[in-house]
């Protein structure tokens, strides 16, 4: 009897730990919305999201320039990171000899493990001066930020893509090779198409990491709240806006920064739902892949 009670209590205890992440998310949503809502309500949802002036001292809280900044940096980074990481992932999964795989695995893990501030610092002291010399201007720009982000999202896309390439049944590959295809034809026509949903999931996860990155972007993007006219213009990301101004914000300005977080939250949720759609509809197996 005593044993049975103990078992029962342990099971309930474990259940509580299991739902802890849901409780935490609900708490996060509650607190961000409670603090952010007053600003969005008083300034108007549409004005907040589609307003192009951010001037806290004058009471203007439009975040559109930052949405454009975030998306600009993110898509530029994807344009560079996707080709390189897909090639590298195919190399790791299909072509590299085992000695090379043994080197690449810890390399990818280390790239994933380097703190974002270290990437930002590297960008600030190496990349910014380099950009300044090559292209003129200050060197702080959308392009500089996206180059740093490219390196940061490489490991995310590579590891998810490698997992999905490896989960393609071995028979597919054997059948294609037996028909006389070359290795490249097999990869292009059989393995890669079969792994495609997983590859797209990896790209979505990489995109999420790019949108959410804060300090590395602050250190190299220039942080000016204006619409960029070229990739060499400085921009401010949504995340940067929060980190830059939270230190001294009071009153409605403080709430507007939480409002910025709400916008960010919705962008991430859209990506999450897309990734989950692929996960359940296309049965994508994502190994350790997280945003």
């Amino acid at each position: 009897m005593n044993n049975r009670l103990e078992e029962y209590l342990i099971e309930k205890g474990l259940f509580i730990t299991a739902i802890s992440s849901i409780i935490i998310i609900l708490l996060i949503i509650t607190f961000i919305f409670i603090e952010g809502f007053p600003a969005i309500e008083s300034y108007g949802v549409l004005n907040f999201v589609f307003g192009s002036t951010w001037a806290p001292l004058k009471g203007d809280f439009g975040v559109l320039t930052m949405i454009v900044g975030t998306l600009g940096i993110t898509f530029l980074a994807l344009a560079m990171a996707v080709p390189l990481s897909l090639l590298c992932a195919i190399f790791m999964a299909e072509i590299a000899p085992s000695s090379m795989r043994r080197i690449l695995k810890p390399v990818i893990e280390t790239l994933a493990g380097i703190p974002s501030v270290v990437y930002g610092f590297f960008g600030l002291i190496i990349l910014v001066p380099f950009m300044r010399e090559q292209f003129g201007g200050t060197g702080f720009s959308m392009l500089t930020a996206s180059v740093i982000l490219t390196v940061m999202i490489l490991p995310t896309i590579i590891s998810v893509t490698v997992d999905s390439l490896r989960s393609v049944p071995y028979e597919y590959k054997e059948a294609s090779l037996a028909l006389g295809s070359t290795q490249w034809q097999t990869i292009r026509n059989v393995i890669f198409p079969a792994a495609l949903p997983g590859v797209i999931t990896g790209i979505i996860l990489g995109m999420g990491r790019a949108i959410g990155e804060t300090l590395a972007v602050i250190m190299v993007a220039g942080n000016v709240t204006q619409f960029p006219t070229s990739v060499m213009d400085p921009v401010r990301a949504l995340t940067s806006n929060i980190a830059l101004e939270m230190g001294y914000a009071t009153g409605i300005h403080y709430n507007a920064l939480f409002g910025t977080a709400i916008v960010l939250f919705f962008m991430i949720m859209i990506l999450l739902v897309a990734a989950n759609y692929l996960h359940y509809k296309k049965k994508v197996v994502i190994g350790g892949g997280y945003l």
Binding site: T17, L87, V107, E109, I114, V117, V118, F121, W184
Partner: protein
């Protein structure tokens, strides 16, 4: 497509070169980044740098208080997140059947893993610092980081508990053990290397995070004694050193310390995983 005009053999050769080049390029990128940081940073790092207090708000002196702050927040995050993450993993693998609740729990962990760190920062400020009244302290910082480490620990623990062969459980249950005895005495010890890896990876996330604790730890440059004292973990120190242009040298030193920590973590986790795989496959 371009490939129609090139013979399959030639395109195979071209693409093989491209694949090799991209693999090598990835390695070169890593070598350039950590090589540069280590080369510049090692000039600054010595025992005195690691064990002395900063002088003149970081222009001179060392990073001792930052190391202590980092240890504090990382340990707190591990102590809080490990039981929650491992408990959740045990529940999902041992006690539940697939269903809506399980799907919801998985989605919860995924969402938690994908929330931007700066949003955690805002939550930490409004919940731990203000609402719970913990103030700017290493405790507030550690708790925020625990939330970020939780999904990593959960995910890795779940995978490694799942990998324990079913026969282990059956053997234990057949001997008359209860479910919890089986989990505690058989399943968890067998999965221990994997779970340890998960906890290390979770704490690795904590030790390298700065944005989430930006508004929670208070950025003081004194050594935190109690958990209610403010502190300034290494990544935050690096951020402040670099952006406020206080001392490039000390920034290099701090960055190098962080890179060395990451390298050690990568080596340790890889050794653990290799051992685990040998143990599970070498039956």
């Amino acid at each position: 497509m371009l490939f129609r005009f090139i013979s399959p053999k030639t395109s195979q050769k071209i693409m093989k070169t491209v694949f090799w080049a991209s693999g090598i390029l990835t390695i070169i990128i890593l070598i350039i980044i950590i090589g540069y940081i280590l080369l510049e940073g090692m000039k600054v790092i010595n025992l005195e740098f690691l064990l002395s207090n900063p002088v003149d708000s970081g222009r001179e002196g060392g990073i001792f208080p930052m190391i202590i702050s980092s240890l504090y927040v990382t340990l707190i995050s591990g102590l809080v997140a490990a039981p929650l993450g491992v408990g959740a993993a045990v529940y999902l693998t041992e006690y539940s059947r697939e269903g809506h609740v399980i799907k919801l729990i998985r989605f919860g962990a995924e969402t938690l893993a994908s929330i931007p760190s700066i949003v955690f920062g805002l939550f930490g400020l409004s919940f731990f610092v203000v609402f719970l009244g913990l103030g700017w302290s290493v405790l507030s910082g550690g708790l925020v980081l625990a939330l970020m480490a939780l999904p990593t620990i959960f995910k890795v623990a779940e995978v490694s508990i799942d990998a324990v062969p079913e026969s282990y459980r059956e053997g234990s249950l057949a001997l008359g053990s209860t479910k919890w005895q089986t989990v505690y005495r058989v399943v968890l010890p067998a999965a221990a290397p994997g779970i340890t890896t998960g906890i290390i990876l979770g704490m690795a996330r904590s030790i390298s995070e700065a944005a989430a604790i930006l508004f929670a730890v208070g950025a003081a440059i004194t050594v935190p004694i109690s958990i209610f004292d403010p502190g300034r973990p290494l990544p935050l120190h690096l951020y402040i050193m670099a952006t406020e242009g206080i001392s490039l040298e000390n920034a290099y030193g701090t960055a190098a310390v962080l890179v060395i920590i990451v390298l050690i973590i990568t080596i340790v986790t890889n050794t653990l995983v290799e051992r685990y795989q040998k143990k599970m496959m070498g039956r």
